[in-house]
Symmetry: C2
Subunit: 493 residues, 2 copies
C-alpha cells in the first residue's frame, strides 16, 4: 500500500499538470488569442478550474493530509506537506457558492470598470465595488475564523504567508516617517539637474532586439521560455517554459526596456526553481512578495544602478541611434528620475511606496469594516496630499479607480509590491557583503556571481522555507526596511 | 430529473472544453513552445488525455446512451446521439493497456524514424514498425469484432465512417485504369510547354503579406483565428479560434502560398461549423475525408484554377516583384505543372492518387495479415513502377519510409486524401451547375456565392448527416470518381 504522502504527491503532480495547461492557455489568451475566441476560452478555463478545485478538495486529500502528518518524512517532504495543507485549506475553506458568486461579481465589476474608469464614473463603479467588498469581507471572515486571525490578515496571508497587518503597520509606519521628507529632498536636488528626453520614433524591432539582448545578459534561458507582447506586461507560463511579455511604445523605449528587466527577474526565479521537486507545491515560488523581490532586484537594484546603465549604454546607442540624450550622465539621470505622480504603475521607486501605503491603509480599513466604499475618495485625497503632496479631487480616473486589483476583490495584494522592494534592497545589501567587487563586476557585465548568489539563497529553495526563514538565512535577519532607506539615500541623495 | 440525453450533452460540453485546452496547448507546442518545455507539456497533455478518456468511458455515459435511445429526440438530437455513441464505442472498446502500449510503441517508432529516415535505415525502422503493426492489428481485430466488419474496414471507419475496403477497391480500381495513361498524356503535353521558375530570394515578410491577403480573399475570419509558422503546416485550434500554419522558404514562394490556401479551406470549414450546437459532437466536422475535400476544394478546384491564378497575379507581382516568370501564362503553367516524383507531399494533383492507391493497397494487406512488414519495400517498388513509372530500389528514405502516418499506427488514414480530392471535384461540379457564372465570378474575385454554397451544403451541417447523405444532398449522388477524372482532363488535357 502506498503511503498517504505518496498519494498526495501523485495528486499534486496531476494538479500541476492541469495547472500547466491553464497557464499556457491563459498566456495565449493575453498574447495570441483573437477576440472571437474569448468566450469559448473562458468556458474552457473555468471548466478546468472547477476540476482542479474538485481534485484538491476531495475528501481523500483531507484524509491523506491527516495521515501523512504521522508518516516519516524528511525535511523537504515535511515542507511539501505544509504547502499541500495550505493549498487544501485555502481551497476547501470557502463554500462553492461564495467562490462562484465572487467570481461572477468580480468579473462584472472588472468588466464595467474598463468603461467606467475612462468615463471617471465613480458612482457607477462604487455600486459594483460595494458588492465585491461585501463578498470579500465574507471570504475574509471565513478565513479569519479558520486561521484565528483578523479578516485582513487572513487575506494578506493568501499572498504573503505569515505577514500581518501589525507587522505592516510597524514597517510601513516607519517608512511613512522618512519617506515624504526624503522624497522632497530628492525632488529638490533633481530640480537642479535637468534631463533631456530622447525623442522617438524608436522602431519596435530595435526595442525587441534590445529586450532580447537584455534577457540574454540576465541569463534568461531561451530554451525554456519566450518574450512576447501583451497589453499589460506579465510573467506567465510554467517553470519549464516561462512566458514573459512587454509592450512597445514607438515614442519611448525606456519603459519597455525596464519592463523586460523586471519580468526577466520574475522569469529567472521561475526558471531556477528546484527541478528535482517539480510538480510539487514545495517547488513553487515562495510568495508574491518574494517573487516581486526578484523582479525588483533585477529592475531597481541591478537595472537602474549606475553601473548597469553604463554597461547597457553601448548597446542602447547601437540599437536606438546615438544622440545627445544618450550621453552617459543623461541616460543614467533619465533612468533614475524621481517625479511624484498620480499613477502607481508609472511611479519611480522613491514615490512608489507612498502609493502602496495609501492603498494598504484604505483596503485594510475597508475589509475590517472600519470604512465603507463611499469613504474611499475622500481618504484617497487626504492620503495623496499627505504622502505625495498631490491633489486628486474629483479625478477618480487617476485616483481610486486607477487599479484593477480591487475590481475582482484581490485585497491584500498591494502590500507585496513594497514588501518586494524592501526584500530586494535587503538581499542586494547581502550581495554587496558577499561580493565586495559587485559594482565593478556589474559595470563589466560579470553578472554570474550575482545570479549564483540568488540561486544559492533564494531560487533553489522554492517554498521549502517560510518567507521569514528564507530571508533570515539569506541576509541574517528578518525584514528590515533600513536597507531600503539606505538604498534610496545612496542612489538619490 | 434531467433526461439521459441532457446528461450526455453536459458531459460532451465538458469534454469539448477540455478538448479546447488540448487543441490550444497542442498548437502552442508546434508553433511557440521552446524545446525545453517539451517534456512537461507532453506530461500535461497526456494527463488531460487520460482524463478525457475517463470521462467519455464512464459507466454512466454507457447507461445514458442506452436510455437516451428511448427518449423523444428531434432529428439533430438523434444525430448528436449517434455521434456520441460512436465516440463512446471508439474509446471504450480498447483495453487501457493496449491504448497505452500502442501510444508508447508508436512514439518510439516515430522518434527513431526521425533519425532512421535520413539515414535510409530500413532494417532499423522495420524492427519498430513490426511492433506497431502487431498492435494495430490487435486494435483492428477488436474493432472488427465489435463492428462486425473486416479489420481494415474497422480502422478506415475511424477516419471515414461508413467507408469500406470494398468501396475503395472499386473506386480506386477505376482510377487505376485511367490514371497512368492520363498522367502520361499530360506529361507528354506539358513537355512541349516549358515553364520558367522564378528565382528568389522572396522575403518572408512579403510571403506573410501574401498569405494574409489570400486568407482575407478566402473569407477567413481573423477575429476567430490566426496564421503562424510551424515545421509542418496544419490547421488546429477550435472552431471559435482556428489556428492555421505554414512554413516559408526564401527561395520559393508558391509552396507557402498554396499551403495557406489549403489550410484556409480546412479553417473555413471549422469557422463555419454550426455554432448553435457548439460543444456537441454533431457540431464537429463530418470526417477526415470531408475535411480534406474542403482544403482541396480551396487549393485545387479553386486555388489552382486559371481564373483564380489570374485574380491573384497582380498581388503576387506587387509583393514578389514583377519579373518575366510572373507573366500570366507562365504563372498559371507553374501552378499547374504535373511531374511524377517519389514524394507524396510534393506531388501534383494528377499523380497524387497514385501515391495513395499504393499506400492503401499495402496497408490494407498489412492489417489483414496478407503481407508482412518485410514485404513492403518490394511491393513499394513494384507499385511505384506500375503507377508512376519510377524506380525506388534501395531508396527507402524517399520510398516506404517517407511518411509519418505508419510510424504511430495511423493505418486507414491515407485513403481520405484521395477521397477528399474526389469529393472536392464532385462538389465543384455541383457548384458549377448551381452558379453558371462561377468562372467569371472567380476571375473577378466574387467568391461569396461559392462560400455561400459550401456553407449551405457542407459547413452548416457539421456531423448531422452521414458522409453519404451529405454528399448526396449536396450533389445528387454518392461518391463518383467520374467528376475527378473530368476535372483532371478539363484542366490538364
Amino acid at each position: 500500500m502506498s503511503s498517504a504522502y505518496a498519494n498526495l504527491t501523485r495528486t499534486f503532480t496531476r494538479l500541476s499538470r492541469f495547472g500547466h495547461l491553464s497557464a499556457i492557455a491563459g498566456w495565449d489568451m493575453m498574447t495570441m488569442m483573437p477576440p472571437g475566441g474569448s468566450s469559448a476560452r473562458g468556458a474552457a478555463l473555468a471548466e478546468l478550474s472547477v476540476l482542479r478545485h474538485e481534485i484538491l478538495t476531495d475528501k481523500a486529500v483531507a484524509q491523506w493530509l491527516d495521515q501523512a502528518a504521522n508518516e516519516t518524512l524528511n525535511d523537504v517532504e515535511r515542507a511539501n506537506l505544509r504547502e499541500m495543507r495550505r493549498a487544501y485549506d485555502q481551497a476547501a475553506l470557502l463554500p462553492a457558492a461564495l467562490v462562484e458568486e465572487k467570481s461572477l461579481v468580480g468579473a462584472r465589476c472588472e468588466h464595467a470598470w474598463r468603461q467606467q474608469r475612462p468615463a471617471n464614473d465613480w458612482q457607477g463603479f462604487a455600486a459594483n465595488l460595494k458588492e465585491v467588498v461585501k463578498l470579500s469581507r465574507a471570504e475574509a471572515e471565513l478565513r479569519a475564523q479558520a486561521n484565528g486571525c483578523s479578516r485582513y490578515d487572513a487575506l494578506l496571508d493568501l499572498y504573503e504567508p505569515g505577514m500581518t497587518a501589525a507587522k505592516l503597520d510597524s514597517t510601513f509606519g516607519e517608512l511613512k516617517q522618512w519617506l515624504p521628507s526624503l522624497l522632497a529632498r530628492i525632488v529638490e536636488k533633481q530640480s537642479r539637474q535637468p534631463v533631456a528626453v530622447p525623442v522617438g520614433p524608436f522602431a519596435v524591432e530595435s526595442q525587441q532586439l534590445l529586450g532580447n539582448a537584455l534577457m540574454k545578459l540576465l541569463n534568461f534561458d531561451f530554451n525554456a521560455g519566450r518574450l512576447d507582447v501583451s497589453a499589460h506586461p506579465f510573467c506567465g507560463g510554467v517553470p519549464e517554459d516561462v512566458r514573459i511579455t512587454t509592450r512597445y511604445n514607438a515614442n519611448e523605449f525606456i519603459s519597455a526596456m525596464m519592463g523586460v528587466i523586471h519580468e526577466t527577474g520574475h522569469a529567472c526565479y521561475e526558471q531556477n526553481l528546484p527541478k528535482q521537486w517539480a510538480g510539487q507545491p514545495v517547488a513553487l515560488a515562495r510568495s508574491t512578495a518574494i517573487h516581486e523581490s526578484q523582479s525588483l532586484f533585477f529592475e531597481k537594484q541591478l537595472g537602474r544602478s549606475t553601473e548597469f546603465l553604463s554597461l547597457l549604454l553601448p548597446q542602447v546607442k547601437t540599437l536606438m541611434g546615438d544622440r545627445p540624450e544618450l550621453e552617459e550622465a543623461n541616460f543614467i539621470a533619465l533612468n533614475q528620475r524621481v517625479k511624484p505622480g498620480l499613477i502607481r504603475v508609472d511611479a519611480d521607486e522613491v514615490s512608489y511606496p507612498a502609493h502602496i501605503i495609501l492603498r494598504y491603509e484604505i483596503e485594510r480599513a475597508l475589509i475590517e469594516s472600519e470604512i465603507e466604499v463611499d469613504d474611499i475618495p475622500t481618504l484617497w485625497q487626504e492620503k495623496m496630499q499627505a504622502l505625495l503632496g498631490l491633489d486628486t479631487t474629483g479625478n477618480y480616473r487617476d485616483g481610486c479607480m486607477q487599479d484593477i486589483h480591487w475590481t475582482d476583490g484581490s485585497f491584500g495584494y498591494f502590500p507585496t509590491y513594497t514588501l518586494g522592494a524592501m526584500y530586494a534592497a535587503q538581499l542586494f545589501n547581502s550581495v554587496k557583503k558577499a561580493l565586495p567587487q559587485v559594482h565593478s563586476d556589474i559595470r563589466e557585465g560579470n553578472l554570474q556571481p550575482i545570479f549564483d548568489w540568488l540561486q544559492q539563497n533564494i531560487w533553489q529553495h522554492g517554498s521549502r522555507f517560510t518567507t521569514r526563514q528564507l530571508i533570515e538565512n539569506a541576509t541574517g535577519e528578518d525584514l528590515n526596511p533600513r536597507f531600503f532607506r539606505q538604498h534610496l539615500e545612496n542612489r538619490y541623495l
